[in-house]
């Protein structure tokens, strides 16, 4: 994830916890092999999950490293279209493996084609998340894919269909579903202790919502081993090369490659609100713009309002759930506040940021074939709420949404913004 929501890797939590905290907060599936991992010894090669890592920016480094702390993971390949990152990726993996066997690819199709690889971790730019996941699923890989899992509604739907089609295990990197303070807050809402839910506040990553479409002056195309520009663009529309495009500061606000402020954090915070409202298999039914910052209020069928905004407390990705009988607010700082304060009695959790429980849950599911917490259906419904909010912002007016049919109601313009045609040769 890098960027604003990125924080330094909390090494201590890994070292001190080791692998002992298996699924501490997840609905831990029961897998014999994961019990066997408690000891010092590594499982035999036949029981290891052979993996490749695709995409190696800040977040790619973080999750790849986090995966490799699991003794049943054997990382054998990396893929990155940018040369300097590709080199760093191989060096990191080799160093941790204590050999020089890690293979480095420019083209993810070559990595995915390897029959020895069981699972991939995808941490490319947002533009690639769905396509890379779908390609991996077609090839029979299980997938841990960073958030947001899509940049358009139809793309996410197709991803979920593909995972089902090939019976794949998919975990979206919305790791707060496995982080104690967020789990605690969501459970306060889900258990009814806040009373009937009124408002679910989700922080967005920047003050202003929406995306831009900016074309920069063309620059000479670098050699393929520096940047493979065509591959970097992937399914997105063609444009002439400029080095700024492949910086995060550019692409995360550009509509061809991402969904801006709302998908950047909303993929986590809206996801939390969906969960808190027990809305994992549905979504809000009406979206309206609240103010000049384009904060969005979205109403669920049960009357609760999802408010995508800024100004919540407690670090990055904070959320606040307000019910008729109380509220709770928490964020990445691990702090949590609630009213009445008695809601926080009995709290026992590990707050903070690490993704290791989320990753461990995925690895256990690879073995058990169960679906993890942030599976494709759940993640699709959450990111769809973000995309629908973006459509509302882009059109500048209220839109109504039918979550069952996944279409805007009586709104042809909005419906046309649900999808994006893939640039050949990429195919949904």
């Amino acid at each position: 994830m890098g960027g604003k929501s990125g924080k330094p890797v909390n090494r201590r939590s890994f070292l001190k916890r080791g692998i002992a905290g298996v699924g501490a907060f997840a609905a831990a599936p029961y897998v014999i092999t994961s019990n066997a991992l408690g000891g010092d010894g590594r499982p035999p090669a036949s029981e290891r999950i052979v993996m490749g890592a695709i995409g190696f920016g800040g977040r790619g480094q973080y999750v790849t490293d986090a995966f490799m702390w699991n003794k049943d993971v054997q990382m054998v390949a990396v893929c990155e279209v940018q040369g300097d990152r590709r080199k760093a990726a191989k060096e990191m993996v080799d160093k941790k493996n204590g050999n020089t066997d890690c293979k480095a690819y420019i083209d993810l199709r070559e990595l995915i084609a390897r029959p020895d690889i069981d699972a991939v971790v995808i941490a490319t730019g947002d533009n690639w998340h769905s396509m890379a996941s779908i390609l991996a699923a077609r090839a029979g890989k299980d997938i841990y894919c960073e958030k947001p899992m899509s940049v358009a509604i139809s793309e996410g739907r197709e991803l979920a269909e593909t995972m089902r089609r090939f019976s794949r295990v998919f975990q979206c990197g919305t790791q707060r579903r496995n982080i104690g303070n967020f789990v605690f807050a969501a459970n306060l809402a889900r258990s009814g202790r806040l009373g009937k839910l009124k408002e679910l506040h989700a922080e967005k990553a920047g003050a202003v919502s929406g995306v831009s479409f900016t074309i920069l002056p063309p620059e000479p195309l670098p050699p393929r081993d520096v940047v493979d520009w065509d591959l970097w663009l992937g399914p997105a529309a063609w444009r002439e090369y400029n080095h700024k495009y492949h910086t995060r500061e550019f692409w995360s606000w550009d509509g061809d490659f991402s969904g801006g402020s709302i998908t950047e954090w909303g993929s986590h915070t809206v996801d939390m609100c969906q969960w808190a409202n027990d809305a994992d298999q549905t979504g809000p039914i009406e979206y309206e713009i609240l103010n000049e910052k384009k904060d969005v209020a979205a109403t669920y069928a049960n009357g609760a309002k999802l408010i995508i905004r800024t100004g919540l407390r407690f670090g990055s990705c904070p959320v606040k759930f307000i019910g008729e009988e109380g509220w709770v607010e928490t964020g990445d700082s691990g702090e949590i506040e609630a009213y009445p304060a008695s809601l926080l009695e009995d709290r026992k959790f590990l707050g903070g940021y690490p993704a290791d429980n989320h990753i461990r849950e995925f690895l256990d599911c690879v073995k058990s074939r169960r679906q993890p917490t942030s599976n494709a259906d759940v993640a699709h419904h959450s990111i769809t709420a973000c995309h629908a909010a973006n459509v509302c912002v882009r059109l500048g007016r209220t839109v109504k949404w039918d979550p069952a049919k996944e279409e805007f109601i009586g709104d042809d313009e909005a419906n046309r913004l649900r999808s994006r045609a893939y640039r050949q040769p990429w195919r949904l």
Partner: protein, 1031 residues
């Protein structure tokens, strides 16, 4: 809304909506084309650049009508712009768009044509099927060796994929043929397209047809993901046969299909499957049984309980442990017997632990009764655990049964039962309990019995009557060991009558009774024992008694801020350095600046000078916020006189900190918060609360912490910083005292958020009702300082938002007033009112381990007998009588006791060479456990004294860095009893919480890995433990 219906509707929707919308919008005629669209069409037609045309397409994607289609159609064959045009046409709700795409097919080839085909597939264009079938045939005519060329493979993928999406009968037929006769290299293409097709057929309610496709895809020739997907698809396509298919797969050969089958059990919502699984279960391998248990738990159905119970009784510990956990989730009283048996006979410790955890969690009626019943037949080990379960369940209905257990022959069971009775019983159980205690005659498990009697006695509402039962028993006791038991029990009750009975016993003619009474007095929890302890200390010659008694004195003196005269007297009357060290350690906690004067004479003493300096520093540091002048003087003195560089440095820091406070008044006592139901801050401004009415004032005051504010305004005090105070619509009072060398006029410069009232020498002198932010000097009050002590009290009322104030005294012309002395301790406050970093636990736990257990050293001062190493890094050695852990190479490791402890009190005297990360493990198994952490940690903020848990990270955090002596010795103390965990750092309580994750384990030292800590050392001078049982 179920998952299935969502996705079904949507995928139909993508195709159907386009048609529906077309019928409502297709009345747009050419003449009505909006101006904007016309302009965009012109851009497309003209000589605009690629970027401009692409941009026009982005706009047309939203607003384009049929009028745009011809211009877009022209772009479809353009290598660069074909994709831009497809972006408009793919979601466009008009049939004209489909037509244009189809028309472009023959004019294109390669990637461009594949793109068109993909878009036609997404639009579900049935009319394209003929063309697609032809294309498929012509592709097949390519030489087979070319099939694997990317361009050819991709063409196959696009055509077959589109046929699958369109899913017309003609398309299905073509795909069936392709599936059955394509060469192996095209299996992935045919497999994927067929899966897409089958799913579409299910949605068209052609279940049998879909099942036919899925069945075909079960053949071994297809890849694993195709077969698995087809299997899952089959379950959805024909729900009536799903149960049988799953059962068959479970008994089948393919482990992956089996896993998918099991993972789908819960989603079937078929109650019948649970009973059918019962017959499959015994035949399955342990690995499969583990998976089945997960699935049965997900079903959450009581019908699964017999299978799970059967699993619990099986032979594989892995299966047993997941079954035990599962029963805790979905079980009821009927599972108690099986779980209790697992506690006794489980295949390994994990099974036993899971069974205990599940018994603790079981819901429903009758669980406690069933537990008591199963206790009777359990072996001693298991009985102890089951009694613990009753305690955790707060099973107050089980006390009678527990009293029976407390009579039993096994000491461990008795101990556990006494413990549980103490937690669960009521005073009504006292007579029975007392008679059990007496019968024990001080033998094994009498310590637990004593504690239980004391615990129940303390539950008597009338404090004066709490000891009556025990006193009555004491009268009739003849046996010295019974007397000892009862005396210790009285120490646990500790009311006035108990004291009056124990005091004379300290002079008893029986040496055993006498010593017991002395020890009980030394541990007496409240100040009524102080005088007696002092008297005995002064008289006794027995060195062991002297230490015990003096330790008791100092402990009680710590609780009494006014005890300085006693300290002074004791320091003067002893020459023994160890006595002085003990006294100095007590003085170091004093919040009274006068303590500095008491310590001063010791600063020059060779034997205890270093300890005296540390105590002096600590007292001075505490005065920064209370009596800054005293802190500055003390700091300056040590900074100039100490021979120890580190001490000089710390002393200079104190002076610097005082300097930053300028001449603001920062030492205050605070009382509050005061609220009135339904009243706003504005209303509270006019109401008089106890500090104002002088009603029970003493009860209300505590010291105000200097808030942690930016460097520039450390003197702005935040009343809301203390958790107990924060909130809206409330009032607080603060007061302090100023010593003036002469009578003089002054101006009190104030700022407050929100409203403010001022009393000067007890007379109201000022009020300002205006709300808003605190601005230094906004309120100016003329006051007359008299010679000697003056008092000032402020009432600061909080409406909403920040709650702050600041104050200083200046001359009438605004200059600094020299020669004043501020002291918030001028009138003392009751002990324990200082702001605390630790929130109170729900149920208060006594801070003392009780009088009976003995301290024993864990470290013998010579070698590592009784210890063992874990991990590759970290070096442990004994140097100059100290146990030293060092990290030199980035690698960490632990040193742990060979013995296990469950309930205990631990105290460690340690020193650290920073930067370091270390700590004292407890209830540690080498992998998991708790730790009294020794560290400085940033994210999240935590200092030594933080309670770390391997699976929860920081359970409680010490945020006060100043509690630890970074360059000198510190005392860490841990008191762990059941789930109550308390920790102290240098006498300040840093943790008081309940956590039941780990019940027992080793004590240990840690050397944390990491290059940041290379060279770190943890040096242990003393490590002692009192075993409180529970194993």
């Amino acid at each position: 809304m179920t998952l299935k219906s969502v996705s079904t509707h949507f995928l139909v929707a993508v195709c159907v909506v386009i048609v529906l919308a077309a019928s409502t919008r297709s009345n747009v005629r050419a003449g009505e084309v909006p101006e904007r669209e016309k302009a965009l069409i012109e851009t497309l037609k003209g000589n605009a650049s690629f970027q401009e045309k692409d941009k026009a397409c982005r706009e047309l994607q939203i607003i384009g009508t049929q009028a745009s289609v011809p211009a877009l159609a022209a772009l479809l064959t353009d290598a660069k712009l074909s994709h831009s045009a497809r972006c408009v046409l793919e979601p466009m709700p008009y049939p004209e768009a489909t037509q244009a795409l189809r028309d472009a097919l023959p004019k294109t080839s390669g990637e461009i044509r594949n793109g068109l085909i993909n878009t036609l597939g997404i639009r579900g264009d049935q009319a394209a099927v003929g063309d697609l079938v032809n294309l498929l045939e012509s592709l097949r005519k390519e030489p087979v060796e070319r099939y694997m060329e990317r361009s050819v493979t991709e063409a196959f993928e696009s055509v077959a994929g589109a046929l699958g999406r369109i899913a017309s009968p003609e398309a299905a037929k073509a795909l069936e043929q392709f599936r059955s006769n394509c060469p192996e290299c095209l299996y992935p293409v045919a497999g994927e397209a067929s899966l897409v097709l089958a799913r579409r057929l299910v949605r068209q309610e052609k279940s049998a047809e879909a099942a036919g496709v899925y069945e075909a895809l079960q053949d071994k020739k297809w890849s694993s993901q195709v077969r698995l997907g087809a299997f899952a698809g089959l379950l959805k396509a024909q729900p009536s046969q799903a149960t049988d298919r799953i059962l068959k797969a479970i008994e089948g050969e393919d482990p992956t299909i089996r896993s998918v089958a099991i993972a789908n059990i819960a989603s079937l919502k078929d109650q019948g499957i649970v009973s059918k699984l019962a017959s499959v279960f015994p035949k399955a391998s342990p690995e499969v049984q583990v998976q089945l248990v997960s699935a049965l738990t997900d079903c959450g159905d009581a019908a699964a309980l017999p299978v799970l119970t059967q699993a619990l009784a099986g032979s594989s510990p892995d299966v047993q442990s997941v079954a035990a956990r599962a029963l805790g989730k979905i079980g009821n009283a009927s599972c108690v017997e099986a779980l209790s048996r697992a506690v006794a006979e489980g295949g390994n410790d994990t099974v036993k632990q899971e069974a205990v955890g599940s018994l603790e969690r079981l819901r429903g009626d009758g669980v406690n009764a069933a537990l008591l019943a199963s206790l009777k037949s359990a072996p001693p080990d298991a009985r102890v655990k089951l009694i613990g379960v009753l305690t955790t369940r707060q099973a107050s209905d089980s006390v009678e049964g527990l009293l029976a257990e407390a009579k039993g022959p096994d000491a461990r069971v008795r101990s556990a039962a006494f413990k549980a009775i103490g937690a669960l019983g009521t005073p009504a159980h006292l007579p029975a309990l007392l008679s059990l205690l007496i019968d024990l005659k001080g033998g094994a498990s009498s310590a637990e019995a004593e504690r239980a009697v004391a615990a129940l006695s303390r539950k008597i509402a009338d404090e004066g009557a709490r000891a009556d039962g025990v006193l009555e028993a004491l009268k009739g006791a003849g046996d010295a060991s019974v007397k000892g038991s009862l005396l210790r029990t009285l120490g646990g009750i500790a009311n006035a009558k108990a004291f009056e009975a124990v005091r004379p016993a300290a002079g008893d003619s029986d040496p055993v009774v006498q010593e017991t009474a002395l020890f009980v007095l030394a541990d007496w929890p409240n100040a009524q024992a102080l005088d007696t302890l002092l008297e005995k200390y002064r008289k006794t010659e027995d060195p062991k008694h002297r230490v015990v008694l003096l330790r008791g004195c100092v402990r009680l003196l710590r609780q009494n801020q006014g005890a300085l005269a006693t300290y002074r007297e004791l320091l003067g009357s002893t020459t023994r350095p160890e006595d002085k060290t003990l006294l100095l350690s007590g003085l170091a906690d004093s919040l009274n600046p006068e303590a500095l004067k008491v310590i001063e004479p010791c600063l020059k003493e060779e034997a205890v000078g270093a300890e005296a300096e540390q105590a002096y520093l600590k007292v001075a540091l505490a005065q920064v916020g209370l009596a800054p002048d005293a802190a500055r003087e003390a700091g300056s003195r040590l900074a100039a006189e100490s021979k120890n560089e580190a001490v000089r440095k710390q002393a200079a820091e104190i002076v610097e900190r005082v300097g930053k406070l300028e001449d603001y008044l920062v030492g205050w006592q605070v009382a509050g918060p005061f609220t009135k139901e339904g009243q706003t801050g504005e209303a509270l401004f006019g109401m008089a609360f106890p500090p104002e009415t002088k009603d029970a004032v003493q009860q209300g005051w505590g010291y105000l912490a200097v808030a942690n504010r930016p460097e520039t305004s450390v003197w702005m005090l935040n009343l809301g910083a203390d958790e107990k105070f924060s909130g809206d619509n409330r009032a607080a009072y603060v007061r302090t005292w100023i010593l003036s060398p002469k009578a003089q006029d002054a101006v009190l410069e104030l700022g407050a958020d929100d409203s403010l009232k001022v009393w000067w020498n007890d007379a109201p002198v000022y009020e300002n009702k205006a709300p808003g932010a605190a601005k230094a000097g906004e309120d100016r009050v003329k006051v007359s300082l008299k010679e000697g002590w003056n008092s000032v009290m402020l009432k600061v009322v909080q409406n909403t938002g920040p709650w702050e104030f600041c104050a200083r005294l200046r001359t009438p012309s605004g200059d600094r007033l020299e020669g004043l002395r501020v002291d918030a301790t001028h009138e003392s406050v009751p002990q324990g009112k200082g702001p605390s970093a630790v929130s109170e636990p729900k149920e208060k736990v006594s801070d003392s381990a009780g009088p009976d257990a003995k301290w024993e050293p864990l470290f013998n001062g010579k070698d590592l007998t009784g210890w063992k190493r874990i991990g590759e890094g970290g070096e442990y050695s004994v140097e100059e009588g100290c146990l030293v852990g060092t990290q030199t190479n980035g690698k960490g490791g632990d040193l742990v006791t060979e013995r296990d402890f469950a309930d205990f009190e631990l105290r460690v005297t340690y020193r650290v060479v920073w930067p370091a990360n270390s700590g004292f493990w407890f209830r540690y198994d080498g992998q998991k456990g708790y730790q009294f952490d020794v560290l400085k940690y940033k994210e999240p903020l935590a200092y030594s004294g933080t309670l770390y848990c391997t699976e929860k990270m920081f359970i409680t955090s010490n945020l006060n860095e100043a509690l630890e002596n970074l360059d000198g010795w510190n005392e860490a103390r841990v008191l762990a009893r059941g789930d109550a965990i308390q920790m102290w750092l240098n006498g300040t309580k840093v943790s008081d919480c309940r956590d039941s994750l780990y019940k027992k384990g080793k004590i240990g030292l840690q050397v944390h890995p990491g290059d940041d800590h290379k060279g770190m050392k943890i040096i242990i001078q003393k490590m002692e433990i009192r075993d409180l049982g529970g194993l």
